[in-house]
């Protein structure tokens, strides 16, 4: 572990802390319909979209909000499926790529609709430019906007004191989606795309170049509108690479500055949303408590990964190969161990899934942290919006248990947490182990599940577990040793992604609805404070314990036992 490595980690986090307030303030104004500097230049666009869609802007009940979201997502998923299947007859296909196979097209449509960006295909050999732009990048915007929408709806439910339009109103889905896209995602993407292009990221619609290499051989170099897709891939915590190598590809991640900015963009909106929550709660400390809990988990993760990767692989060490740089297998030499450890932690914390190194090649303990980061429920900053509503559900559970311990019916922001909220929160928490453990266990014993494995033993199990964890957590990164482009994995993972997104969004919205209709009691000396280090620590404890208790048995048969075997000299 080097000073340079630590400086990278701390400078990165400092940048996230700095951006939280200004971005959060701006997003609060946008989402709650206040005044902001983009209202004048871009207001016409918002009005145009809403008028064209005949949206009256009236607030909706949670049911209407959720139903709208499901219908919207289903519709956009079908469009993306159709584009992929018809790309050979559609324009912007200079390579003349054939239609995407049905299973893969379904999986990809599900993957981009759910903000997962799991990729069972290689971008440059599968997707036409139209599929990339209209099918995939488009989803990167709207799925991120959908996450933001659900998060603000839940935040409204928690923080409203009767000022909504009617009891139980949580906002208008179409207005939230439009505002998030028009004012937040589009302008930021435009600005950063230009910055990325200036750093050498490509942006064109040309056909692939064939170049002569120094050895006199020939190499095809893939082209495409990369920069425009790259920004929203990070900003919207989508993670789907234009190329198969994702952010390890020099056209997707040309230099350390773009690498740094990529990570920064991943955390920017999730961090800013904690500030939005604080503004809505009329108490910034409420937002900071969530931020601190997230920050604590982030540091715990990144330190462990950095430490594990620096330690290297005992088997390589046994072969008397110098490991002064740490475990460099699967890492870009341009970035090295520290930057890769940081990037991998950020991308798994935030359900992004973009990678600048191959997670499959991390040491068992490093890989364990990445896997566990996702299994915590993608609440460490988390997906755009998903992180906030995820951690709010965990906060509700924490408040319930801790609230009892102070001798009152638990309250969060003055709203009583009762049977219905606990039921919905447990439903939310249950879906995760159900999807991950049940389907991974099935795949581990079914012949069609095991035949995809490139590695045997505990590492193979890690690969299966990681695939379902990544899908359920809408992360999208992978332990690449698993060939997931098979009928079983395309369908099972596609289903997992859809369930991991919508089966969790609906309970979150239901909680928003029931809380929005509740009276809010002012806090007193007898109410549990949900600010300050005690609560942040409690929240971290609950998140860790729920995650650990759920996944410890499965993890102990995969990365944990792999670690002990590696120490004893057995590798897979």
């Amino acid at each position: 572990m080097t000073a340079n490595g630590w400086v990278q980690i701390f400078v990165f986090f400092a940048a996230v802390v700095v951006v939280t307030k200004p971005l959060g303030d701006f997003m609060y104004r946008v989402l709650e319909g206040g005044n902001h500097f983009l209202r004048r230049p871009l207001g016409w666009l918002e009005r145009l979209v809403l008028r064209a869609c005949r949206v009256d802007g009236r607030e909706q009940s949670w049911q209407a909000y959720a139903l709208g979201l499901l219908a919207f997502s289903a519709f956009t998923m079908i469009v993306t499926y159709a584009i992929q299947r018809l790309q050979h007859v559609l324009p912007f296909n200079p390579q003349g790529l054939p239609p995407v196979a049905a299973g893969c097209a379904f999986n990809t449509a599900a993957s981009f609709t759910t903000n997962t960006n799991w990729q069972g295909y290689a971008g440059e050999t599968t997707m036409s430019y139209l599929s990339q732009m209209a099918g995939l990048a488009w989803h990167n915007f709207i799925s991120a906007a959908a996450g933001i929408a659900v998060a603000v709806a839940l935040a409204r439910g928690l923080t409203r004191r009767g000022e909504g339009q009617g009891p139980g109103a949580v906002g208008n889905l179409w207005v939230d989606l439009t505002r998030a896209t028009v004012y937040i995602l589009l302008p930021l993407s435009l600005a950063f795309a230009l910055l990325f292009v200036s750093q050498g990221m490509i942006q064109n619609l040309s056909s692939y170049r064939e170049v002569a290499t120094l050895e006199g051989g020939k190499q095809v170099i893939a082209m495409g509108p990369v920069a425009s897709q790259e920004v929203i891939k990070q900003l919207g915590t989508n993670g789907g690479g234009f190329f198969n190598a994702n952010a390890a590809h020099p056209f997707e991640n040309p230099n350390p500055l773009t690498n740094f900015l990529s990570m920064f963009l991943i955390f920017a909106i999730p961090a800013g949303l904690t500030w939005v929550f604080g503004r809505m709660a009329r108490d910034q400390r409420q937002g900071w408590a969530l931020f601190c809990a997230m920050g604590l988990l982030f540091f715990a993760g990144v330190m462990t990964v950095y430490w594990a990767e620096t330690g290297g692989n005992p088997a390589v060490g046994a072969a008397h190969i110098d490991q002064g740089l740490g475990n460099m297998e699967g890492k870009e030499v341009r970035f090295g161990v520290a930057s890769s450890a940081l990037y991998a932690t950020v991308t798994t914390d935030a359900s992004c899934g973009a990678v600048n190194a191959m997670h499959d090649s991390f040491t068992p303990l490093g890989g364990l942290v990445l896997l566990f980061n996702i299994q915590l429920g993608e609440v460490v900053f988390g997906g755009v919006g998903a992180g906030l509503y995820g951690i709010l559900v965990m906060a509700i559970l924490s408040v319930f248990i801790a609230g009892l311990m102070v001798g009152r019916t638990p309250e969060y922001l003055g709203k009583k947490i009762e049977t219905r909220e606990v039921k919905l929160a447990m439903l939310y928490v249950l879906i995760f182990p159900l999807l991950i453990l049940a389907l991974a266990a099935w795949s581990a014993v079914a012949p069609y599940g095991r035949s995809s494995l490139a590695n045997a033993g505990p590492h193979g199990l890690s690969e299966i577990l990681y695939a379902f964890t990544s899908a359920a957590g809408n992360n999208g990164s992978a332990f690449a040793g698993l060939n997931a482009n098979t009928p079983w994995y395309n369908v099972a993972l596609g289903f997992t992604m859809l369930a991991g997104r919508f089966w969790m969004m609906v309970p979150a919205l239901a909680i928003a609805g029931t809380l929005a209709g509740k009276k809010s009691a002012p806090p007193g000396a007898g109410t549990l404070p949900t600010t300050g280090p005690l609560f942040a620590g409690l929240l971290v404890g609950v998140i860790l314990i729920v995650g650990a208790l759920t996944f410890f048995p499965a993890l102990s048969l995969s990365p944990i036992v792999e670690h002990f075997l590696a120490q004893a000299g057995r590798v897979f």
């Binding site: 019916t409 005690l534 208790l549």
Partner: protein, 683 residues
């Protein structure tokens, strides 16, 4: 608060213990157990492991776990269920014993029913609502009702444990009588207020017995949490079988069930209903009878407490504390006149004037049997009382009443007296003017005497995050002074029943829960509106029906205990839930390495407790899991100690004891059991 009468019954007495043991077996009935999802899962696991053990005994298979091990696991799983049942049975047992004692009171009495003017003798149990009965000296009142004629002293010790007889009379706020109590003197006519089976005694029996116990809202929410966790662990444990198959591990069902039972929150699951029953029981031992468990829980949530000034904050009566003479009048003259005006006044205020005059000025009560003395009693119209003696017209009364009185006689009030009156009112006292003919002699300062120790009590409330509001009919000035002296947070002066109701609704509109006590019929609407409403047993039937608790001691300051019992109930649940979940960490470290050791011996470092063998490791965890329930029964019954600290301090404390303690304790416990087991079974 003493534990009186029939209610002081210990849970640990021999017969109760035996009954509880028997009950815990009876409660194995799955139809009963299914109400508690966590323990139901344990029972299913017990059946499963027992069947497997029997099968392995009958036809030993090669890969099966050794029978001594499988048998032990099955046995301890059964114990886990039995211990949980025992906790519940023990908690119920205390209530049942009390119910039996109460039922003794319901022995068949004969009622003298009046039908169309004629008296007939019928069984008390056949009385219906609105029947009229007569009760005389030495007879037992046959049912709950209201005195409509007469006055009597009644021995209510059977209900309240209070041996001093109480007065019951028709009209007013002391008209309600309870079935099973005994008339000691005189004769009353009672209108029965309830139908058979609905009487206060019946309700009390049902309640203490837990016969109609329903899960309370918070208990249901906790059950949902526990059921959810049980499902999560079910998934984690069941999927371990295929994961094991992938890894070349054959995990026996016995081991998986053992892991599952250790992980699911059996500690809180086993004790949750005992905690609820014991909470109710604690309240009953404070002589407060809740009409539902819901009310007990709500007591823990109370934000605002409304307290009547009279009787609660101040001693029922104002006392004379000072004579303030008008200019040109000697104090002795004023004291003499005040005493004369009060000699026939049997109210405590009147008596206190007589006493003060005697103490301060040596004036002895004179013999007023003289024929020329004519006493004028207090009336609501004149708002004065006094006497006419030797042609003197001596009056005492409210200042404005005396002012009108002397004005009518051609006198006038000196400015100094007006100032004295204002000064007294400002300090919260009540000025009582005294006049002799048209002359105003001065003012008597009547002072409210605030009960001792209240300030500390209210400070305790404040530390708990509760706001106290004093309700009084006094003017705002008086109210403010008393409020300041007593240390309440706020007051409502010149209160009418409507204002009281509006105050409660206002607090509730802000999302707050309100508690109050009351006894009069005019309190009934407010009692019905309040979230926690304690009716005094001496109060009217209407008040008792409107409230959701009845205080048999009729002690309004008991709200504090009620709130604490409510908080204790929730805290005990929360702390044991935390403890239960925290325990799982150690159990994982005990069981998982033991399960995987056969195929992955390299995992040995995870066996941090250095447990002797895989079998003893698993068995130790299972035994610990069962024994911890028994060890925590006393805590569940007694409740976690409540301290009036702020919520943050309380949480820090509980997290330290039950969270951190819950992580550490099983490491020690499991290790100890493992050591013991390996001593018993070397090798």
């Amino acid at each position: 608060m003493g534990e009186k009468g029939v209610r002081a019954i210990s849970a640990w007495e021999g017969p109760l213990l035996r009954a509880a043991l028997l009950d815990s077996v009876r409660k194995l009935d799955p139809r009963l157990l299914v109400r508690n999802p966590v323990m139901f899962v344990v029972e299913v696991g017990s059946v499963l492991t027992t069947l497997l053990w029997v099968r392995d005994l009958a036809a030993p298979s090669a890969g099966a776990a050794p029978p001594w091990f499988a048998g032990q696991v099955a046995l301890w799983l059964w114990f886990t269920v039995l211990f949980a049942n025992f906790a519940e049975a023990l908690a119920e047992g205390r209530g049942k014993a009390q119910a039996a004692a109460l039922r003794g009171l319901r022995k068949e009495t004969v009622a003298r029913r009046i039908v169309e003017g004629r008296e007939e003798r019928v069984a008390a149990s056949s009385l219906r609502k609105d029947d009229i009965v007569v009760v005389e000296t030495g007879q037992v009142i046959p049912g709950d009702g209201e005195v409509i004629e007469g006055i009597a002293s009644v021995d209510e010790s059977a209900m309240t444990g209070e041996s001093a007889p109480v007065i019951r009379e028709s009209g007013g706020d002391r008209s309600s009588v309870t079935g099973g109590t005994k008339v000691l003197s005189d004769r009353i006519v009672v209108r029965i207020g309830v139908n058979p089976g609905e009487s206060f005694l019946d309700r009390m029996i049902n309640l203490v017995e837990g016969a109609k116990r329903q899960k309370t809202p918070n208990e249901i929410a906790l059950h949902v949490l526990l059921a959810g966790m049980t499902i999560i662990f079910l998934i984690a444990c069941v999927t371990l079988v295929p994961f094991g198959m992938y890894s070349g591990l054959r995990l026996s069902v016995t081991v998986i069930v053992a892991l599952l039972v250790c992980l699911i929150p059996t500690t809180i699951g086993g004790l949750i209903s005992a905690i609820g029953i014991a909470g109710m029981d604690r309240l009953i031992r404070h002589n407060v009878i809740p009409t539902s468990g819901r009310a007990v829980e709500a007591a823990g949530d109370v934000d605002t407490i409304l307290l009547d000034k009279t009787g609660t904050i101040t001693l029922g009566n104002r006392m004379a504390s000072e004579f303030l003479a008008a200019p040109g009048v000697r104090v002795e003259e004023l004291a003499d006149a005040a005493q004369l005006a009060s000699l026939a006044d049997e109210t405590p205020e009147g008596r206190s004037i007589v006493v003060l005059a005697k103490e301060r000025h040596g004036l002895r009560g004179r013999d007023l049997k003289q024929p020329e003395a004519h006493f004028v009693p207090f009336s609501a119209q004149t708002r004065m009382s006094g006497c006419d003696l030797d042609g003197r017209v001596i009056r005492k009364g409210a200042f404005d009443a005396i002012k009108r009185h002397v004005a009518a006689l051609g006198g006038r009030v000196p400015g100094e007296v007006e100032q004295a009156v204002a000064a007294i009112a400002k300090t919260g006292g009540t000025p009582l003017a005294v006049s002799d003919g048209p002359r105003v002699l001065g003012v008597v300062h009547l002072k409210d005497i605030v009960k001792g120790g209240l300030k500390e009590r209210f400070a305790r409330f404040r530390a708990m995050g509760l706001r106290t509001v004093m309700i009084t009919g006094d003017n705002p000035l008086t109210a403010a002074a008393i409020a300041a002296e007593a240390g309440v947070d706020d007051f409502l002066a010149e209160a009418t029943p409507e204002m009281k109701l509006a105050l409660i609704r206002g607090e509730q509109a802000q999302g707050k829960l309100v508690a109050m006590t009351g006894d009069g019929t005019n309190d009934a609407p407010a009692l019905a509106q309040a979230d926690v409403a304690i009716a005094m047993n001496t109060g009217t039937q209407a008040a008792k029906e409107a409230g959701n608790m009845v205080d048999l001691d009729s002690n309004p300051t008991k709200l504090l205990e009620v709130v604490e019992v409510g908080k204790q109930l929730l805290m005990t649940r929360g702390c044991l839930t935390t403890f239960s979940i925290a325990n799982d960490v150690a159990k994982y470290f005990a069981i998982l390495p033991a399960m995987f050791m056969a195929v992955f011996p390299q995992i040995a470092p995870l066996n941090v407790m250095r447990l002797a063998s895989p079998q003893t490791a698993i068995l130790s965890a299972v035994i610990f899991n069962a024994l911890i329930i028994v060890l925590l029964i006393p805590l569940a019954l007694r409740g976690v100690r409540y301290r009036p600290l702020g919520a943050a301090a309380l949480l820090r404390r509980s997290l330290l004891i039950y969270g951190a303690g819950g992580v550490v304790a099983p490491f020690l416990g499991i290790k100890l059991i493992d050591v013991a087991l390996s001593l018993v079974r070397p090798g």
